[in-house]
Symmetry: C2
Subunit: 413 residues, 2 copies
């Protein structure tokens, strides 16, 4: 053993961290809180385990591993299982009338790793990335970890404001930098739960293409539409040109798979594939899901999942209607896991979140989702994880906290 | 749909690639070749599927998912399944007499993703990274992808040369840069199959600590020792100080799991954990392996795996002894998947590889493993994947090619 006196005692290995790490660590990261039974969780976009297809996956795994074990336990390449990529292409082609092939897809460790790979492949330090403001917090973190400079653009009911997008593009160009991409979550937007209109998508695409800026379309919740008609993706509207789309099995099967995908035109996709340094996404998982899809089990499961979460959403909206009426405003989401609550001016989402935590309810204050100019008077409520029979309790308890805060606010005024 | 004339036809999205991507794409990447039945594969460190524990994994999966499905299909955090991290700590403690806990481990998508995470966390563009020369090709690629500048140091039978390491450290300091870490594969080194001696490890550690340079110890093959006594890890020798160690289940269970780990002191490890942007390694896989380990199945499997590959190595060495005697030189490896063959001066490993490919044998020319000053007269042969009954054919055919090249070489002289 080395005598410890031989080592420089003053030497701190964390001094060796890269600039991106020092910057990132200076800001609190997402802390992972394991499930706590006694807490009513409305904070994160976490699926309800009661709808996980455990028995079907057990049977699928047995069949798959006995017949395909040689492939499922072996290296599988950076782009990933061609059978599953083929199935993804067929599904998107049916949904959107496209003619994609397995060559348009790469499998990833969820949509999160898909965005990480896009940033690693595209973003040089100081490059501008434009995003919805508010947007998904981890995506803000991922873009900043790659030293991209974020410009956030506000949303209305139809999506990001085109004028603000154009100003952001010009602002980047005026400073001699390039806006690499616009990051959006166009269906059941995270956190506002709006879905971008067709007209707005076309307008944003037109601006992006005029300025040579990619659109990165994170559609992690896209398969969870309970009602209404799907709007064509940016990818379909542009016939793939200048658009990278990403999706996930996290919300439909389970996040524990860590399985998602990137969809792009082959030339750009191959560049993203070449930037994978992890030897690809686990074949054990991709062959399991390929068999789950091929057997038809996925489609049947997805139907159950949609009914399950639609029911939760309906109960949640009913509870909001009963307890929040007159206290706050919200829109009924057509899909996804969230309701975005606008609180009265001057009422703080962070304060509500703190007080709710004391009463064992976890919610996400809206301020968490902004890359700049955070609005204080919002909160995001996820109806996905909480047990159906606890919705009423949680919402009524929240309403009491909210009422107290509104009263305190009136007094201060 | 957007009228395609509205899009700038001249616009090429791949022009938006980051500098690191343009640099990396300019060099040929590792192309993934799916298994071809008719080819005898001696090129890559790929396990033999006949030893994959298919039946045991089927039974383990069923038991695990029925009892732990709520966790295995859910988000699991950046650091990963604490049960498996605890099991890893216990194993290392038994092997090396340490007192590690689950807090010293993070689960990763194989040792490959562990190195990717280390580079992302530590390497700023232009930082110096020192490595064995030759070393594992994907690791060279990963370090370069993060714009680290590699200095390679030669090896003798005991490991990397301390004088060369010291010169590299001084060279970095003289140019005002920092050598962030020394990357090594100390057991059954990839590609030379040597194991670093205890004395050499101590000397390298001493130099590293004097210069404030980390040691990154990639021990992906460490569990595959067929004979002889294990040498303490750099991590154990330094009691963790200034060392990051990584391991993998790829060679013992199967690469299709994409499961490995990083071992470090908690403070440094937490920085690496915070730099994960992919929401961690698939819980479905980590709970499966945790159960496989906890049930004792892993230990029994590992014993079979060691006997299986020891037998292959013995057959391979016997075939080399018979056919390569007098044509080339090699050492008998005590573990791992490789034999490193020194060819006569002037005989090219690349030419042998080309000619072998024409006769349907895949080998890895030694030149592929150098980050600088590539030696032409080496080749790496993997005995792991090829069927035992084909070893004789492959080695005798290679010997014929080699003999032809030596003869041609003598004529040229």
């Amino acid at each position: 053993m080395l005598n410890s006196r031989q080592m420089r005692n003053s030497w701190d290995p964390t001094q060796l961290l890269a600039r991106r790490a020092r910057d990132l660590l200076a800001n609190a990261g997402p802390s992972y809180a394991p499930p706590r039974e006694q807490v009513l969780r409305l904070a994160a976009g976490v699926p309800d385990p009661t709808v996980f297809p455990v028995e079907e996956l057990v049977q699928t795994f047995e069949r798959m591993l006995r017949s395909r074990g040689e492939l499922a336990l072996q290296y599988g390449g950076n782009q990933g299982n061609a059978e599953l990529r083929h199935a993804l292409a067929e599904r998107v082609n049916r949904q959107e009338g496209l003619a994609l092939t397995a060559d348009n897809f790469m499998l990833t460790g969820g949509a999160a790793q898909a965005l990480e790979n896009v940033c690693f492949s595209l973003v040089d330090p100081g490059d501008v990335v434009i995003c919805e403001n508010p947007t998904f917090g981890l995506s803000i973190r991922t873009i900043r970890a790659h030293e991209g400079e974020l410009i956030g653009i506000p949303l209305d009911d139809d999506g990001p404001l085109p004028d603000a997008f154009e100003r952001a593009l010009s602002q980047a160009e005026a400073s001699g930098r390039r806006a690499k991409f616009l990051y959006v979550t166009p269906n059941f937007q995270n956190p506002t739960a709006i879905t971008f209109s067709l007209e707005r998508r076309l307008r944003l695409l037109d601006l992006a293409s005029r300025h040579g800026c990619l659109i990165v379309e994170d559609d992690a919740y896209g398969d969870l539409r309970f009602e209404g008609e799907a709007v064509p993706s940016f990818y379909a509207l542009a016939d793939g040109r200048g658009v990278i789309r990403m999706g996930s099995y996290s919300k439909t099967i389970g996040p524990g798979l860590r399985l998602g995908w990137t969809q792009a035109q082959p030339e750009l996709l191959q560049a993203l594939v070449a930037m994978r340094l992890d030897m690809g996404t686990a074949p054990l998982v991709t062959y399991l899901v390929a068999e789950f899809v091929a057997s038809g089990a996925f489609n049947g499961h997805l139907e159950r999942v949609l009914l399950f979460y639609k029911d939760k959403r309906d109960r949640f909206l009913a509870a909001l209607g009963e307890h929040f009426d007159g206290l706050a405003r919200w829109r009924a989401p057509e899909g996804g896991f969230f309701v975005w609550i606008e609180l009265p001016e001057g009422v703080s989402g962070e304060k509500i979140a703190e007080e709710a935590m004391q009463e064992r309810i976890m919610i996400a204050p809206g301020s968490r989702f902004y890359c700049q100019d955070a609005c204080a008077n919002y909160m995001r409520l996820a109806f996905s994880f909480i047990a159906a029979e606890e919705i009423e309790t949680a919402v009524s308890r929240l309403a009491k906290i909210l009422r107290r805060n509104i009263a305190a606010q009136s007094v201060r005024r």
